[in-house]
Symmetry: D2
Subunit: 345 residues, 4 copies
């Protein structure tokens, strides 16, 4: 099969990692890398002397042979660049968060549909061996009824100039949650603070509520002295700890849970109604392939076959809707009720 | 000096630990232990055959020689038992949380004052070597301006029948925060959920805001497969991680921080205004004496000298006020503005 | 059943822990505690006001009602005190190491047999939930053929005045190994050093060899800045890590191993003959009862029934034989061949 | 300055990492990569399309413009390849262990001297930020008198077909020790076992002794279910733990130590003569540059200036002498006395 021709736009932190993964994928040929900053292109040239480098995005758009455009630029440019790419009949993989508003997300989804192009969002963690394994456990009903999802992603990180810590870090965990839970939240509440100009939050806490008392919480921060990347997923039958910083045993599955019994009478003491189980812990061997490598293969396969990607535009939209609600909650102090439109139904 | 005579009421989980500490303090003589459950007394008798055991609280009240009553009963009984003890001219050490309402706390404070008795709340962690060391760092201005306080106290814990996870676990961390930060919060917001009868929350998240963009957050849960007891305190100059489950090196002080510069012009890029410092980590040797042993000595000394305890009734009140606000927030979904009465001023 | 009467001699570090466990065992009555140091007895009295305290060991020997003597004195006194106790028809539980020479051990074994008394050695770790679980795995053939046993027990510890670090720390691990492996070593080699007067080693390394290329190694030190108590047990099918300092998950069982194939021809490359398996890790729930509590119950049951204890005099002897050989190796620099008398055969 | 021309021979595990580092060093130009296996060269070509690939080592030798040959082939070929390279007037960086015998090492050292060429051994860890920091602490007398060096390097590793675990893994730690301690050992003793054909040890323990009761011990294994890379360095004043698997805080410096006092009289108890200090722990920020990058720069600078490298042929020889002695000890069971020729004197 003739390799698909790919252009990557944006050579900041993540761009070169995308470049490496597309370069190493044998079903595609990485033809262009584009960035406004010439020094970044020069640096890349030493590593990849055969790739065509350009500061002109239009060169990619106007090349009829180019099949795919990968967008790894700042968030506020995603919408415009993706729209141009889709309009030029390119398949698009766009960095997360997909756009700055859900309205823009919906426009891109509609445009991709109209053009018959694949539109995929780079929710990398969804393709991580640990996350896929949790999904399997949930689908096999191993966890029982889900009780909570709790995520911490904190670091002494680089402040972003254009987005706050919610838009910078939470998309990772929201996309994992969206994939694992497969439900839309009923409400979103966020608290946080900024220590600079009062406008760009550097610490934030987000609570989502779902049907059946399921709760999700996200702690994101640029101001922690220690790096933490941990997710807890609790069910009635089993509970999982996913610690992404562990070199081995990133996933620990605890055979622990609770059983809630119906009270027989008013007199019976409450605590007797909760039965705890304390069982073994199990750390399964995980697929250690780089998540992005798997994602790139999946994307290429979707382009080749026309199948919808796992992290399609709809997934990107759902994450942006939560980010929008979190922003509204931070601004107003009010809990945001989520639209009743069940995107999963 | 003649030893002070002490009676302990309540032999549940914490009572026997108080009994041991008062038994081993040489300035007091543990005369009574009281509980309604005879089997708990019998169990205690084997260990402490010389202590007088009783199921009658009034025996303690009516003994004119008894100096001190220590109350380790369920929360909803604290107010009544403490009121009777103070009325009978006993000094009182009461378990946390102090009472079920701030109104009750205020009544006890007034009564103790009227009677000239010491009223102290058992905020044990305030006397822990790690917490005292953090306080020293703050007082010596080592941390710079405080940016945040973040606490996680989660476990697969025993559900309480009378109080939710906020009232059960958060008093530990609220009392630590109250001691370390020394400010009253401006607002309290809480989210949470119950997986049983919808009324008793088993997972909760509380956000407090303070002046100068200082934020505090508390995660408490009875439903975690792993036990975590960790506090982060971040300042502009240094940041501290206090992990109470580490056998050694519970406290790690990071010479990390940020400097926020004033922008010189609108054009200058935002991120250049934040300067990060990444320095060494330092784990000081801590006083490893049992916190409760130190607290009991402090309490005894306050009784002997008439000095106000560090964790006096006011400290107990401040914690209960936050718990009340958190409960109101959980019930209404609304952020609670805290009373402007500056208790520290 | 009438409770067995017990006397404990020796109130140093371990004595009071034995006292507590015998005090709490309901099948016995702790009648005496004996020590030459009056201050230690006084300290104990406050905790246990009903126990008879004495500095005269002969009082225990001459009390015809006394059934059991528990010896927790310095090692060099074990032989004499145990001999007197057995001669006086008492059952004996003696601290480890059992004696300072294997000759003394053999004498005590013979004496206990002649007197029809139980002689048990306090190899506490053999009764630990983690060690018993490893034993079960081995007995169920879960590990396959044993390949190695590796132990590290290091700390910044208190120097002993009468014994070196081998006699102080290695008995713990040698008794665990003896219990788990159930074979006598073929050879013993030890290296080590002393940083004080050249005579009392503070760091030592011991290697034991067994049939079938099984190897055991022990690292003991009083000079480590960090405390480590870790044992690795490797088999062809599974491998176990036992980290005694973990609060939970002390035992991790790895479904990892190797298969050694027979070479088909000389030409075939060596490395192809080794097949590795990298499987899941499993951390079983362990019996968290205090090992000494279980041991005391076992001892009492042996006294009541006449059954031989798991850690009988022979087990104590086997450990002392290895300690003797290690000492000889340290002194001569030579590997010591172990006596051919197969105690397990 | 005209860049130095470099050829790398050997594209196994380590070769491509050397290739990357020389490729990225701006003072050199990587002209050749050589390997007998064409498939390895093809794989490399995709990444580095501009480098000349060859299966003919003689092409490198016969190119008069080539300045440097880097040898990353199996150990038994090092001597012959390095000899040819030096004879052809090339500077040489050779993988560790330097050769299979000390005799070969000495020949290469003499040849390099005769030819006036730089001969350096790739003792990579010597250039690691953590190791250099320990060296600084030792040189600043922060540790006091050195008491011990203890190293553990274990893993479920790939069996080597040509060398045992001692020659495979111990060179890392022996080169670190050689650099840090700067003394030649007085004796070498090794124990170990093979679980395959009895000839290639897969687990080994090595003890070295030095003057002044300094002891060093090395545990190497291909059969551990868990990966450990830890070094302890103990001095009378401070003690260091270097855990290479920690993402941060690889080095922990403990303000712990002992003081040995002279006994005043025979009667005074031994233990009083040892004074322990338990102080703070300090984890310094380390240079996180890749060790090999620093090493390559150092090598290039030595070639440019004619200065002797830190890890010159003599350092390589010292490590091989210990490996030879360890092999002799494994074969004979005897402790090997080291040659009295003081290489550091």
């Amino acid at each position: 099969m003739k390799p698909l021709l790919v252009g990557v736009v944006g050579c900041g932190y993540w761009g070169p990692i995308l470049v490496r993964n597309f370069y190493e994928n044998e079903a595609v040929e990485l033809k262009y890398v584009c960035d406004l900053a010439l020094d970044k292109l020069v640096k890349l040239h030493r590593r990849y002397p055969t790739i065509e480098l350009t500061t002109q995005y239009k060169n990619l758009l106007s090349d009829p042979a180019l099949d795919i455009i990968v967008i790894a630029t700042p968030v506020h440019t995603h919408y415009e660049l993706a729209k141009q790419a889709l309009t030029a009949n390119k398949h698009v993989l766009v960095e997360k968060p997909m756009c700055t508003t859900s309205k823009e997300c919906r426009e891109l989804i509609a445009l991709a549909k109209a053009k018959g192009r694949i539109l995929m969002v780079d929710h990398t963690f969804v393709y991580h061996g640990a996350v896929r394994r949790i999904k399997e456990e949930i689908e096999r009903q191993e966890l029982g009824e889900l009780l909570y999802f709790d995520s911490v992603r904190i670091n002494l990180g680089l402040f972003q100039s254009d987005i706050n810590v919610v838009w910078d870090l939470a998309p990772h965990d929201l996309s994992i949650m969206d994939f694992l839970i497969g439900q839309t939240p009923q409400s979103v509440h966020a608290t946080g603070t900024s220590h600079t100009d009062q406008k760009i939050e550097d610490i934030a806490y987000i609570t989502l509520t779902f049907a059946n008392n399921l709760i999700a919480h996200f702690h994101v921060s640029w101001l922690s002295p220690v790096k933490v990347r941990q997710i807890l997923v609790g069910g009635t039958k089993k509970m999982i700890v996913y610690d992404d910083l562990q070199p081995m045993e990133k996933l620990r599955i605890y055979d622990k849970g609770i059983t809630v019994e119906e009270p027989e009478s008013d007199e019976r003491r409450y605590q007797n109604l909760i039965q705890y189980r304390f069982g073994d812990m199990h750390a399964p061997v995980l697929d250690l392939n780089e998540a992005l490598k798997i994602e790139v293969s999946h994307f290429v396969e979707c382009v080749q076959t026309g199948r919808a990607p796992i992290t399609d535009g709809e997934a990107g939209l759902r994450v942006v809707e939560i980010l929008e609600a979190a922003s509204a909650s931070l601004a107003t102090g009010q809990t945001q009720q989520m639209p009743c439109v069940g995107v999963f139904s």
